[in-house]
Symmetry: C4
Subunit: 209 residues, 4 copies
């Protein structure tokens, strides 16, 4: 299994999972409440859909930035990556549950919020495992980080856990707080690199840069 195949399979799983998120957007059909009312009642589904969609999108972007550097794929990497994907695939389930229970008050909304934050935290741990593999296998990586840069990189990856740990813990007290923190986290990751300056995500900058 070479890297392009690992990426193609992961892309497929990301693409299907991100599309299944939208299955949660559904009304009950004629004979129920007015359509406009039903569409309005779906607002937690829209919010949960957008947060989950962009969170999976961010992980997809970072996943490729990370793997882009890998030259040899070992079985360990394959199964560490599968563990990450097993969590990604569960995100639509957590999203639907969150959307269904956000407006239901204590304790159900809180259980849904802890599940929602918890799945994102698990995804984040899965990503951490893939990062650790890359940091520890200089022999399989093109342009490995210099030894002195590894612990700072590690620190950054570990800090990346903080928002989802907070989002999960806060869910015990307030489900909307979980929603707000996960949304802000997604926003932060999208916009953190939009500053002027070198922003190319491609590994092959055009000649002259």
């Amino acid at each position: 299994v070479d890297r392009s195949r690992l990426e193609a399979f992961s892309d497929g799983v990301f693409a299907v999972a991100i599309t299944l998120l939208a299955l949660n957007l559904a009304v009950k059909g004629p004979g129920n409440k007015h359509l406009l009312t039903q569409l309005g009642d779906l607002w937690p589904a829209y919010v949960a859909y957008l947060i989950s969609f962009f969170t999976i999108g961010i992980i997809w972007v970072n996943h490729h930035t990370l793997l882009n550097n890998v030259m040899v794929v070992t079985r360990t990497l394959l199964f560490v990556n599968l563990t990450l994907l097993a969590v990604v695939v569960a995100i639509p389930f957590a999203t639907t549950t969150m959307a269904d229970y956000l407006g239901q008050g204590w304790p159900n909304a809180n259980v849904a919020a802890v599940l929602y934050g918890g799945v994102f935290e698990l995804m984040s741990i899965g990503f951490l495992l893939v990062s650790e593999w890359v940091l520890r296998h200089d022999q399989y990586v093109r342009d490995p980080l210099p030894a002195a840069a590894k612990n700072p990189a590690r620190l950054r990856f570990y800090f990346g856990q903080v928002p989802y740990v907070i989002a999960t813990a806060v869910g015990f007290f307030s489900a909307p707080a979980t929603v707000i923190i996960t949304a802000l986290t997604a926003f932060y990751y999208i916009f953190q690199r939009f500053q002027p300056g070198p922003q190319a995500a491609s590994a092959q900058p055009p000649a002259g840069e």
Copy 2:
């Protein structure tokens, strides 16, 4: 993330979304109305399915024509593209709702029509954002448009919004009108390039052309 990866992921999302459209084609099974009656009652579902299928197909074609020219993928482009995909993934939802409510009269059919036209308009705006990114980043594009050709190209993209704006607005008064306008728009985009003359969509014309 290089361009081929961006395209592969987008292709996956387009392929899943276009296939999920057909989940809306379903009868209720034995013990309900005669099958022939049920299949007949599904006519709004067939119409909505065909319009949405070809509209997503057109966007897929245009998406690749546009990205084919991009040499460097930045994080901005990744997230602008994710925004477009987030709307594409919602099209099956709008399609199902339209199919379920088209025959239900005022106001439900109209709400469904406005939702249907509105999602296509959002998709069109998403596509506009990707186009703008390409027009503004000559340094990342192979064969950028000459400066003098940019505003006419822009104008064409902005004009492309008109049919969906009308389809959405008209939905407040007549749901069938929304259906007809979105269908005509799809037809127009399919057939506009079928005229004799240079029609190759490939970037590599055969030697001698």
Copy 3:
């Protein structure tokens, strides 16, 4: 859009459609009939699943054999191909309907059979359109057929319609006959090339053959 992109998108649609076929395999869960009885009652679903799975598989194989030869992808080809895919995506719907109604007697089983045969016939017509495009565009094709070989090839493609026309027509009188004919057609296409002799489907035979 170059050929590999057209193939990747088509592969995605084929892969999703072929996998959605299995959604029809489902029991009702605890509190209904004995599981063994339910699994037994599903036999029309297994039969319909297998026929549809291998029929889509055959079309996928033939689709690539055909496109493998295409060097330039025009917008016409893109939309002819989309038409084929629009039918492929509807096969899970026809399959589910067939499975649900096969045991229901006249007229519902017959309506389902005509729908089932009819969708396969439409798919076959869609494939014919792609074939015609290839036969008519020597300038876009690597190794085009010699002029003298075109009409015989055409004849073969047109003869390929016959089984599905019969399967559809026969459905008005007997739903099981439709099932048998579509199953035999799939078997024929799978085994017709299993004879000893040149059987490589790849365009690049190993040196020395």
Copy 4:
């Protein structure tokens, strides 16, 4: 059809099937039992999900290791591969049924366990058929196994059937035993190669190995 296309299509089917597994993770929504109770009641679904996810993942890894060596794709290989995929696509069905009936006692839980073990055994047979094709077609394979190594390889593939045969047979007496055996089998395949030593799964080891 060349190998990369066969792999891309197979990857698509694997990716969709592995993602559909998670559709089984679902609660009933407000108005039913407490969410926490519902999430707790889902434990057989989590167990079945994880086993099936990693089992499909292992087959995906082995599938590529096997095909990586194939230079010419014949129609026979295409259809043998389709047979394997037809079983893979049925795994979500067996998984859902297992999850729904595991806690239901004799005989329903046992029927579900036999179905679950049986589908894995069928998948294993499908994989055996692909292996046999590779072992028998030295002319289409890069670096074929030496003749003396073939029967030992065969033996290893046949031994690979044993756990799933046992898991299926044991299901008649105890459904949890089936779950435990299939879980242990997945664990074994994941960890068997995690020993220190040459563990690269890639065909291109880095220079110096």
